[in-house]
């Protein structure tokens, strides 16, 4: 019994470590795809199950964006994701500022370059296309 518990503990530890490392690798890969004229600022690691009849984006974070700065949001999904990582941004009043996908055509962009002209705290929402299951990272970079 003790051996079984030890085995399970080791297996769980290995799984958690492997998952953390693969997410870390995805962050680095994603940050590098942002381009040579960018500086990494922050990453958001998103892991979501199937959304069912979901209508609202499930992963939400806040981030300050400053006037006269150009930001690039790069979206990367892990190979086993069922849909592409998508995002939208709203300002503090709830007005949508941008979305990385076109709701009419269903097209999802892998990156969005955003010229900010209003300093403030913004809400960043992430999910996977069609609220599907997946894991991925959204990287915020500064465009030099």
């Amino acid at each position: 019994m003790k051996r079984f518990i030890l085995f399970l503990t080791l297996l769980l530890t290995f799984t958690v470590l492997a998952s953390a490392q693969s997410t870390d690798a995805l962050v680095s890969k994603c940050a590098m795809t942002a381009g040579p004229n960018t500086t990494y600022l922050k990453d958001f690691r998103v892991q979501l199950g199937p959304g069912g009849h979901q209508t609202e984006f499930r992963y939400k974070q806040v981030f300050p964006l400053s006037k006269n700065m150009k930001y690039k949001f790069t979206l990367c999904s892990a190979d086993n994701s069922k849909g592409a990582l998508i995002m939208k941004i709203s300002d503090e009043t709830g007005r949508q500022v941008l979305a990385s996908y076109d709701q009419k055509t269903g097209k999802a962009y892998p990156s969005v370059e955003f010229t900010c002209n209003k300093t403030g705290t913004y809400h960043l929402y992430f999910d996977f296309l069609n609220f599907s299951q997946g894991s991925g990272v959204g990287v915020v970079s500064l465009v030099k």
Partner: protein, 304 residues
């Protein structure tokens, strides 16, 4: 009993979010009347509510980018060189100075002064180890990248990622007070850098950047507020930050609304925001903020 907690959480959330949203809809950012949240309530803020407060580790990178764009020459006088990591004994000092040196590292990296950043890196490693978060700081790789100056992008990625991971780890492990201190250190040093430069180079972009810190300062105070009574060190820091907030009170930030302009370029979406924020700050107000920033930062760096 559970019902009481739920009710209390709801009241606190309503208070927090009503304060944060109210002023913005009127097209102007003003500090909430009640000075953020009463301390007794702030102490009970849920993790979820705290997660909704801006945490920007990388703000000094943005400031350094502005300085670079303005062609402001690099100067070591802006750095907190007097910090001696091996002489700091409390977690409070270590976390705060970890933030201050993180901002300095961003400044050094932006100017590609990577050779001279080794001393700063060594201190950062000591401080990170001192609060048991050294495992997130890949000192050897960062040092190697700094010494050969071959890949500044990777250097930024590793340095900024380390700080983001430390912040996340501290919060997840219930050590949010250290994370709040680190963020305060980052902000204060970034503020010091911007205000020292603006004295010599009164560029509008930089002046506005200093004025806009009113918004960030408000969030920072909310992060710190749950810990303000926990010791004399926190109490003094909170008091200093409150004083800074007072200096910002009459600076006006107004907003105008517009529709974003979108286009597709090389497969990527390009969005230009036409909303505008405007800072109204007099020269005297700026002077007062420069003085206050210098005083607080120097007091913390010297440890007096």
């Amino acid at each position: 009993m559970t019902g009481r907690y739920i009710f209390l959480s709801l009241i606190i959330s309503m208070f927090l979010f009503s304060c944060r949203g109210q002023s913005k809809k009127q097209g102007e950012f003003i500090f909430p009347d009640a000075d953020s949240i009463p301390l007794s309530e702030a102490e009970k803020l849920s993790d979820e509510a705290l997660d909704d407060i801006t945490r920007n580790i990388s703000s000094p990178v943005e400031i350094a980018d502005i300085l670079h764009r303005m062609s402001v020459p690099f100067s070591t006088t802006y750095l907190a060189s007097s910090i001696d990591a091996s002489r700091l004994s409390t977690s409070f000092d270590k976390a705060l100075k970890l933030g201050i040196l993180g901002a300095d590292l961003g400044y050094l990296n932006m100017y590609e002064k990577t050779g001279t950043s080794i001393d700063v890196l060594t201190s950062i490693k000591k401080l990170a180890d001192g609060i048991n978060v050294g495992q997130f700081f890949d000192f050897e790789t960062i040092k190697r990248l700094s010494l050969n100056r071959s890949n500044i992008d990777s250097l930024f990625l590793l340095s900024n990622k380390s700080y983001n991971q430390i912040d996340k780890f501290l919060r997840e492990k219930g050590r949010g007070q250290l994370s709040a201190l680190m963020l305060t250190g980052v902000w204060l040093e970034g503020q010091y850098l911007a205000t020292q430069v603006v004295k010599q180079y009164p560029d509008t972009l930089l002046k506005n950047r200093v004025g806009e810190q009113k918004i960030i300062l408000n969030d920072l105070l909310m992060l710190l507020s749950p810990y303000c009574k926990s010791s004399d060190e926190y109490k003094n820091l909170c008091q200093s930050m409150q004083e800074m907030k007072e200096k910002y009170r009459d600076i006006k930030i107004t907003y105008t609304i517009g529709e974003p302009v979108m286009k597709e370029k090389d497969g990527a979406l390009v969005v230009v925001q036409t909303d505008q924020s405007k800072v109204d700050m007099t020269i005297d107000q700026l002077k007062i903020i420069i003085e206050a920033s210098e005083k607080i930062r120097n007091k913390l760096v010297s440890g007096n």
